[in-house]
Amino acid sequence: MKRPGWLIPTAYIVFLMLPIYWLLNMSFKSTNEILGSFTLWPREFTFDNYVEILTNPVWYSGYLNSLSYVVINTVLSVVVALPAAYAFSRYRFLGDKHLFFWLLTNRMAPPAVFALPFLQLYSAVGLFDTHIGVALAHTLFNVPLAVWILEGFMSGVPKELDETAYVDGYSFPRFFTRIFLPTIAAGIGVAAFFCFMFSWVELLLAKTLTSVEAKPIVATMTRTASASGYELGLLAAAGMLTIIPGAFVIYFVRNYIAKGFALGRV
């Protein structure tokens, strides 16, 4: 089991890295080189594509827009999900099971179904083309997910913890913030990771609900690609830059990945 054991994961990682390498390769090439020849690494190494993105406001504002609504969404989703998950993990109440199931069905709602109604709804309430608007729209699938993940982690915490705290004279808010939240820190990390992930990678709703002010980087990419033809180098550089926040987030949760992906339920 020793040597072939390493072979399979290594081969898989090489397979995963190939397209990313190709994107990286393209991002350092000039348009001439891309269209003119087939090269396995950049012969005329250039930073032009990155310089263009980082200096042109059309590009970098898209980047900032994306980060803004993703962060707003992550915070919002986790904050509203926390008390709800606590309620589901600790109490029985009228319609609790149906409510939980209904929440989860929203995770199954295809964004394609909601794109048009969302456009009408968010235009009507004046949230069209705002960061908060996109963040709110993404709660459709992130809040149910966050509730579900957090509920799993909270159910793993024995109820005696709550009871001991009350006996020791803690009020509920103080218990919740001082004792309970630190106990499920790993769960909050994992929930935030998933919210960040699904908000960051989503394009359909983000693109539909924005035009100029809050246009995400991913939408800029699709529009640039169609408008100015074949600027593959620029596209590749923009793509590479969208990988970076994800890589950062993974790095921070790397210690939770092995256990956290079991979502506290195994």
Binding site: F38, F93, P110, P144, I243, A258, F261
Partner: protein, 288 residues
């Protein structure tokens, strides 16, 4: 855990209910509204009853898209679940390299979906892409913008690239939670690798595998962005899955009635499949 009855718990769930209701109920009502009315523009609507539903359910175009969707979901599940499981099993149980492996594996999951599409677009281009060029160099005729089979091949490969890691991470987390004593007992009992897998690992992975299949089932039904960027649903309609067809009708042709009806049918199909799969897994659970 035995939970206490407490109706005040509703206050805790109220923010979530309000938020999700705003996002889900109002748009869903809008869709339902579209689906039972007819319009000739200018915001004038007429009652259409279930006509659009009948039309959608009878249309060959919808049947074709649904069939493509089912085939696609079937193929990627058949590849990603066993492959992900196999990779998770091959991973070492501990050691400094494990978290490095996991970080690399998780990377595709955090790349925006259109970037995934663009990335594979660039990779698969027959003239300047690594994949396309290589396949053509070894004598295979490959052009995913013209050949339906090549388009499907690229789509499936892209999905495997994008999502197998999710299965790996879930399975790996599940495997890690099996106590060492089980492996030791199996060793003492003289169990071979296959028996360890069949009688220890597989039963213990049941829950995470259910989640993995459920997530991939749901998400593959919703696939949109990657396809639009990579193939645009083509060549012809070869990769026009349900969500792409829906967008063509709704935003392309602005046929709100049929689009609304199709949305609801589409949503119900996902719900039904997920529910069916879930109850199937859980019924087996009860029996054990």
């Amino acid at each position: 855990m035995n939970k206490t009855l407490n109706q005040k718990a509703w206050f805790f769930v109220l923010p979530v209910v309000a938020l999700v209701a705003f996002n889900a109920v109002i748009p869903l009502m809008t869709v339902v509204n579209f689906s039972v009315q007819e319009t000739f523009g200018d915001n004038v609507f007429f009652w259409a009853g279930v006509r659009w539903f009948e039309e959608v359910l009878r249309s060959e175009r919808f049947h074709a898209a649904l069939l493509r969707q089912l085939l696609y979901t079937g193929i990627i599940l058949a590849i990603e679940i066993p492959l992900g499981l196999a990779i998770a099993l091959a991973m070492p149980r501990r050691g400094p390299w494990v978290s490095v492996c996991l970080v690399f594996m998780a990377l595709p999951l955090l790349i925006p979906w259109n970037v995934v599409g663009s990335m594979w677009n660039i990779l698969a281009l027959p003239d300047i892409g690594l994949l396309g060029r290589s396949l053509n160099a070894i004598g295979l005729e490959y052009n995913y913008t013209r050949q339906p089979f090549a388009a499907w091949f690229t789509m499936v490969l892209m999905d495997v690239w994008h999502w197998t890691s999710l299965v790996v991470l879930l399975c790996y987390a599940g495997l890690r939670s099996i106590p060492d004593a089980f492996y030791q007992a199996a060793k003492v009992d003289g169990a071979r690798a296959w028996a360890v897998f069949r009688y220890i690992q597989l039963p213990k992975l049941r829950y995470v595998l259910t989640i993995a299949i459920l997530l991939r089932l749901m998400d593959s039904f919703m696939i949109y962005t990657e396809v639009i960027v990579l193939t645009g649903g083509g060549p012809g309609n070869a990769t026009t899955f349900l969500s792409i067809d829906l967008q063509k009708i709704a935003l392309g042709q602005f046929d709100l009635g049929p689009a609304g009806a199709m949305s609801i049918i589409y949503f119900l199909i996902i719900l039904f499949l997920s529910w069916m799969f879930y109850t199937l897994m859980m019924r087996n659970e009860d029996r054990s």
